[in-house]
Amino acid sequence: MTVSLRVDSADPTPPYEQLRRQLAGLIRTGTLASGTRLPTVRQLAQDLGLAPGTVMRTYRELEADGLVASRRVQGTVVTGTVGAVDQRLAVLAASFVEEAGRLGAGPAEIRAAVDVALSRG
């Protein structure tokens, strides 16, 4: 599957931020799995027609968010920490909702039960 990136020059959002949002979204949804190598700064900048510094800034911000890591040999790699947590939470939530449904609880009761559990810390 080809994952595409787009930078719109008419968009007032700076190009580095457009890129950062797309990549962060792709990582959080698991589209870019942990261990995926991102293109080199030079390659992505040339492909998009951007300055290398723009792509470098995007990668730096993603690294600061803990979504990617820069490694000397492999380059920039998706660490997938956030994506993995999100995926685990989604599985737990689905399981909980299914079990609660069997007990005859509706959406409002399920939310209330979660709130109570959260308030207990």
């Binding site: 994952v3 595409s4 990136l5 787009r6 020059s9 995926t36 991102l38 293109p39 998009l48 027609g49």
Partner: protein, 302 residues
């Protein structure tokens, strides 16, 4: 030099003429088989035209350079380097062609998340074969440079000499023999310089082939562009093979003939025979690389 040099020149010229004819006929047919909607991808059309066109231009330039190098200078010092210089012209033309359409596959603001590596485009078998030819050339040049002597006019590295004892008792005598031209330093210095030039051009060309930007988010563009990159890389490696194989063939053939005829000394004769066998291997490599250079494949595009 006269007979073997002329033989090499005739062989090279014949090979080049036949290759150009085949390239024009078969190459264009193969390139047309790389089908895509040209109205949707005008950039790819330019890219395909440049990929094939500049390869043919390079071969014509290479033929001119080869003839010039063989016939230029007192005692033809560049004769053994001629295949390498010709190949440099071929590779340089391919590089110019790639440069002229460097951004043809790019759509500003659109890219795919992909890793383009040179090894994905290199023809594996041909690359290994050319590496073997390079090792053969380096071995041949090293041996002939070390074995060479000054010629009868005292010019270093232009001849090969041997002395031996013959006869028995009072009739015993020391004999000597000298053969020139021989691919010693007088010639191999230029072989070394031309080889460095060719390797630099090859490195630039292959690097450019992998780095050239594109819109990796469009699968159809990626399919055609990948095929064109493989055709380009194959042309560059084949060009290197022609240069290296041609130079190895020339050095081993002339050196081997000199050694075989030099002296009735078994070791010298054996070295000459080994050299001539190496020349046969180099000739096979030269012809193989030449055919691939002349007839571009479809790059694996389906």
């Amino acid at each position: 030099m006269a007979v073997s040099g002329l033989f090499s020149l005739v062989l090279l010229s014949l090979t080049v003429v036949m290759a150009l004819a085949a390239a024009l006929l078969l190459g264009r047919r193969r390139a047309r088989s790389l089908a895509f909607d040209e109205s949707v991808y005008p950039g790819l059309r330019s890219l395909r035209r440049a990929t094939i066109g500049w390869r043919v231009i390079g071969m014509v330039a290479g033929a001119v350079v080869a003839v010039g190098a063989v016939s230029f200078g007192h005692l033809r010092p560049y004769a053994f380097a001629a295949p390498l210089l010709a190949a440099t012209a071929v590779v340089a033309a391919i590089v110019v062609g790639q440069r002229s359409v460097y951004k043809a596959a790019r759509v500003r603001g659109s890219a795919g998340i992909e890793h383009r590596r040179l090894r994905d485009y290199l023809p594996a078998a041909l690359t290994r074969w050319v590496a073997c030819l390079l090792a053969l050339l380096l071995t041949a040049v090293l041996f002939s440079t070390l074995a060479a002597s000054p010629d009868d006019m005292g010019r270093a590295g232009r001849a090969v000499a041997a002395s031996w004892t013959q006869g028995d008792g009072a009739a015993e005598g020391v004999f000597g023999s000298l053969r020139s031209p021989y691919p010693g330093s007088f010639y191999t210095l230029w072989v070394g310089i031309a080889l460095v030039l060719l390797l630099v051009a090859t490195g630039i060309g292959l690097g450019m082939t992998a780095r050239r930007p594109r819109n990796g988010a469009d699968p159809e563009l990626v399919r055609v562009d990948d095929a064109l990159r493989r055709i380009t890389a194959e042309g560059i490696v084949a060009g290197l093979g022609v240069g290296v194989g041609g130079a190895a063939f020339a050095v081993l053939l002339v050196g081997g003939m000199d050694l075989v005829q030099l002296a009735p000394v078994p070791l010298v004769t054996a070295a000459g025979v080994v050299s001539l066998l190496g020349a046969v291997v180099a000739l096979v490599g030269l012809i193989g690389a030449g055919v691939i250079l002349l007839v571009p494949r479809d790059g694996g595009a389906r």
